[in-house]
Amino acid sequence: MVEKIRDLYLFSKASKKQWMAFLEEQGVVDFDQAEVQPIDQTLGLYDEQDQLVGTGSIAGQVIKYIAVSHAGEEHPGSRFNQIVSALESDLAEKGCFHLFVFTKATYQEAFEHIGFRTLAKTAVGLILEKGTPNIEQYRASLPKKPVDAGQTAAIVMNANPFTKGHRYLIEQAAQENDWVMVFVVNQDVSLFKTTERMAMVQKGSEDIANVVVANGGDYMVSYLLFPAYFIDDRDQAIRFQTALDAELFKQQIAEPLGLSARYIGTEPTSHTTALYNQQLKKILPPQVAVKEVPRLSQDGQAISARTVRQALKDQQLSSLADLLPETTLDFIKTNQEAIMERIAKGQQIHGN
């Protein structure tokens, strides 16, 4: 009995209908646009009667919408393995050898069985990775903590762009600790590009001796890896995802690297970030302390990168001097044209 793998093209209405019907049969029911849109490729597994008996998709480097029917399956697990294997080979041909999957706890074993490794786990679900460069290689690439450093802290920021508020948070941490590691979110979906955000944070903190800046890699607040498709309620999805992120940070970053605290700013406006901070406070202690620093205010208003982006959009450059350190101001002045062009082209300035 030979079952064949074929590409399944979701832009064809008929294929998509068949695909959705099959997934619904297997208990996957969320086809929210935010989940389906990022899919790059979908494979279908067909039996001898040309019936769809399995499917899996790839979005970036994340495996999604994987489901198989066990009716008429030769060996338990063979269809699942065949689908994952085909997805991996296709990715390898494109030069991508590192992939992630979010899934329910019941599938942990199935994925570990084919070489995936669990990065973090919560009651609702878990995140696994396979391939290279993996978490160990990422950790090895980071700056090493000085041997004589006692109190150490981590800060994770997007810095879109780097404001006086970010600078204040770093200063607080640097005063209270021997060594501070600042992780810049790697995902390149913000107004300011990752390289620019890295450069702004580096420039803006280079005068503080006990601070190092590192790229957050694939492991820090990577909203790309959104697992909402198997969770109905969006708030619950955010809670689950942020809990996973907190677990991952604790187990794979803070503890192995010996970082004793994480500094966060209070969050007065963004609902998602407020939920995220809540989860951090719940999950990180007691091994990793969470220090919440009140946001730096200017004329009674908390400084936020969002205000800066709005000001840029409204061409109110004069108001920026109060919100941004010299280093970021210089950067914006030199690159003003490129940034304005991005906004004109419709780059989102809301969100994070």
Binding site: H75, S78, N81, Q82, V84, S85, A86, E88, S89, A92, G95, F97, E112, H113, I114, G115, G131, T132, P133
Partner: protein, 97 residues
């Protein structure tokens, strides 16, 4: 020889083996997943190692997911992945074969 690019060969289907080679430091390092690791883990690694040595690959990370492959299959997949990793796909090394 040095690994030029990360490479993958084989599948996760029954009786097959999936091998991935990537750049490593100081020797050959294995990460093996197999249901029969206890019984045949050493043999599987030895088979792959002999192929790697035939290609003069000294520093490499070898990620292996075995699904009960027989020795000739292991050898074939190891040769394929070595050729890909060394970017020698078009120049088969007959002496290894």
């Amino acid at each position: 020889m040095e690994i030029k690019q990360t490479a993958l060969a084989g599948t996760l289907e029954s009786s097959d083996i999936q091998i991935m080679l990537s750049q490593g430091e100081k020797g050959i390092h294995f990460d093996l997943t197999s249901d029969v690791k206890k019984q045949f883990g050493e043999d599987i690694m030895a088979t792959i190692q002999s192929v790697l040595q035939a290609y003069d690959i000294e520093n490499v990370l070898v990620k292996v997911v075995d699904k009960g492959a027989l020795t000739p299959v292991i050898k074939a997949r190891a040769i394929a992945v070595a050729q890909r990793a060394l970017d020698l796909k078009d120049e088969p090394n007959w002496e290894v074969l």
